[in-house]
């Protein structure tokens, strides 16, 4: 299904197209990785709503990214329950091993590191969200193992992309 078709399907759930802006932005972000101006305008055009309405939402809600993020967005929760269970030390560890500061992306664009407000998983604090998945009860050892898995996963994706790119010429 194309992005337009997905957005139109989502919009059918509402009596007012403006309500569909948030679902449409989530679909567009999944498609493009982030939400640059032309994508926001495309969303507005598909829904037939004012472009400013789309800009207003894209810049208000924290899950929308108007700037690119790395292949893996590491979102470490540092709210009270996670803080009490050691999230500060985990942030320092991530900054050290990734050689970036909070808010930055690694030069190879593999990881973006952020801290976020409560992820609603305080029973397994400290918690980090990566893509769709939550990783809880973290310590530095588990973090390192997770980073290794993500690097391996990235290697496979990049390897598959290279194979796909090579195949037409073969």
């Amino acid at each position: 299904m194309s992005m337009r078709e997905k957005i139109e399907e989502a919009a059918a759930r509402y009596p007012d197209q403006r309500s569909a802006i948030m679902p449409a932005l989530l679909i567009a972000q999944q498609e493009h990785g982030h939400l640059p101006g032309p994508v926001l305008e495309e969303v507005a055009d598909i829904l037939g709503v004012e472009r400013i309405w789309v800009y207003e939402l894209a810049t208000f809600y924290t899950l929308f990214h108007t700037e690119p993020v790395g292949m893996f967005h590491l979102q470490l929760c540092d709210n009270v329950s996670c803080m009490l269970c050691g999230s500060e030390a985990l942030l320092k560890h991530l900054e050290t091993v990734l050689e970036i500061r909070k808010g930055d992306t690694t030069p190879n664009r593999l990881f973006t590191l952020s801290t976020v407000e409560c992820l609603g998983a305080c029973e397994m604090a400290p918690v980090m969200q990566v893509g769709d998945d939550y990783h809880g009860n973290l310590d530095t050892g588990r973090l390192d193992a997770l980073l290794d898995r993500l690097r391996a996963e990235a290697g496979q994706v990049i390897g598959a992309d290279l194979a796909d790119a090579a195949s037409p010429g073969e």
Partner: protein
């Protein structure tokens, strides 16, 4: 012996699928109300149960439903508040992930009661697994005839749509949630009119929390007297408590409303080895902290209010004696500052200022008069904002200053954090 009902399927490996839910008596409440009760009778059952909303404010659910006008030329809507952004709270996520049909049935029974044919479940966008499980449950229920047109041969038709949030705590405030559902920035609306009269798309709307809706099928099947027999008469029923922080067995516990806080912490294994409890935040970070001397308070709306705190979302955060309370207070106020929607100046500017003072004190750079300055800021914020976000921050900070003033003063006097 207290018998859990809300969490009875939680540990089943297939607790999220229809067959498991049906095997435990699922959807019998929906069939029963369609067969035996008028919508008004269902509202009456919920009124008799004295169910109070589990989202934080504790407003009587049956009374809220009763505010919906009987005759309306506009469609009526049911909205489920599944935004769950209050730090320390995770109960609704667990219901949606592990027993989503409980919510689906609760929505269907509640929609029948208020005369709604459409519901929107506003789930925070981070909860990807919960969203997928809920989508699956809705599809299963629709295939089985529990949702859709002419449910179970009746003339009641009902559809549920999921609306994903995108990372704004303020969407938990009901009118901000409606703004968000309408595709706007989530800023609270002035009340009145209340949503029951003019809510989503200016139509009559009821907004209930996930746990509140999950209670409804049980009230139908077991009767309002069963519900009222659990816990205090003024706020009865089974209750989900989220326990986290510096405790041995963090997790979700279903226990009677009104259980003493001390007993609840014991259920969660008590403090970590070699540590003592210093304080407990009983209802998510909006709830004023309770020092160790106050742990015998009952965990219900009225007892906690009388003790100067609140049940809120029942997100219980345990803090032990290794932790600096200035740091905890600073992190809490920082959260509210980050999540302020920016509509009201006292909240937007006052919290920014408070965070700066708190971080300065924590770093050992506090000045004489800082604590009085913080109290002045709390006074300027509390009661002067559209919604309760500013109030929550001010109440939390006031309580921390009142109960742990010596720790704040030590930071200023010693020009360092005594815990580092």
């Amino acid at each position: 012996m207290f018998e859990p009902v809300l969490l009875k399927n939680i540990d089943a490996p297939d607790g999220h699928v229809l067959a498991t839910y049906e095997a435990g008596g699922g959807y019998q409440a929906l069939a029963k109300v369609l067969r035996e009760h008028t919508p008004d009778e269902v509202v009456e059952l919920v009124k008799q149960s004295n169910l109070r909303g589990r989202g934080g404010a504790g407003f009587p659910t049956g009374m809220k439903w009763g505010f919906v006008p009987k005759q309306s030329d506009k469609p009526k809507y049911l909205c489920c508040n599944a935004d769950e952004g209050e730090p320390g709270t995770f109960k609704d996520r667990i219901i949606m992930e592990r027993d989503p049909h409980q919510l689906v049935e609760g929505l269907a029974v509640s929609a029948y009661a208020i005369g709604a044919e459409t519901a929107y479940v506003y789930v925070r966008g981070e909860y990807v697994k919960a969203i997928r499980r809920l989508e699956q449950a809705i599809a299963e229920a629709r295939d089985k005839g529990y949702l859709g047109a002419g449910i179970l041969g009746s003339d009641f038709s009902f559809a549920i749509h999921i609306h994903c949030g995108a990372g704004a705590y303020i969407c938990g405030e009901e009118t901000a949630m409606l703004e968000s559902l309408e595709g706007k920035r989530a800023q609270p609306r002035l009340k009145p009119p209340f949503p029951a009269v003019a809510g989503l798309y200016a139509s009559p709307t009821v907004i209930n929390n996930v746990e509140t809706l999950a209670c409804v099928p049980h009230i139908v099947m077991r009767g309002p007297h069963w519900f009222r027999a659990i816990g205090p008469d003024k706020s009865p029923g089974p209750k989900l408590y989220c326990v986290s922080g510096q405790v041995r067995k963090p997790g979700l516990y279903e226990l009677p409303m009104g259980i003493p806080l001390r007993e609840l912490v014991e259920h969660a294994g008590g403090p970590l080895p070699g540590r003592r409890i210093k304080a407990v935040i009983p209802g998510g970070v909006s709830a004023p902290v309770i020092p160790k001397g106050g742990l015998d308070v009952g965990m219900d709306f009225d007892s906690l209010a009388a003790a100067g705190s609140m049940l809120g979302s029942a997100g219980v955060i345990v803090v032990d004696d290794s932790t600096c309370m200035v740091k905890v207070a600073a992190r809490i106020v920082e959260f509210f500052h980050h999540e302020s929607c920016g509509k009201c100046t006292p909240c937007r500017e006052g919290l920014n200022w408070a965070v700066k003072v708190l971080r300065r004190i924590e770093a050992g750079e506090g000045a004489p008069g800082d604590l009085e300055q913080l109290e002045k800021l709390c006074k300027g914020i509390f009661g002067n904002t559209f919604c309760a976000l500013g109030d929550g921050a001010a109440m939390g900070l006031r309580a921390a200053l009142a109960h742990f003033r010596d720790e704040f003063a030590a930071h200023i006097e010693e020009r360092r954090c005594p815990f580092h």
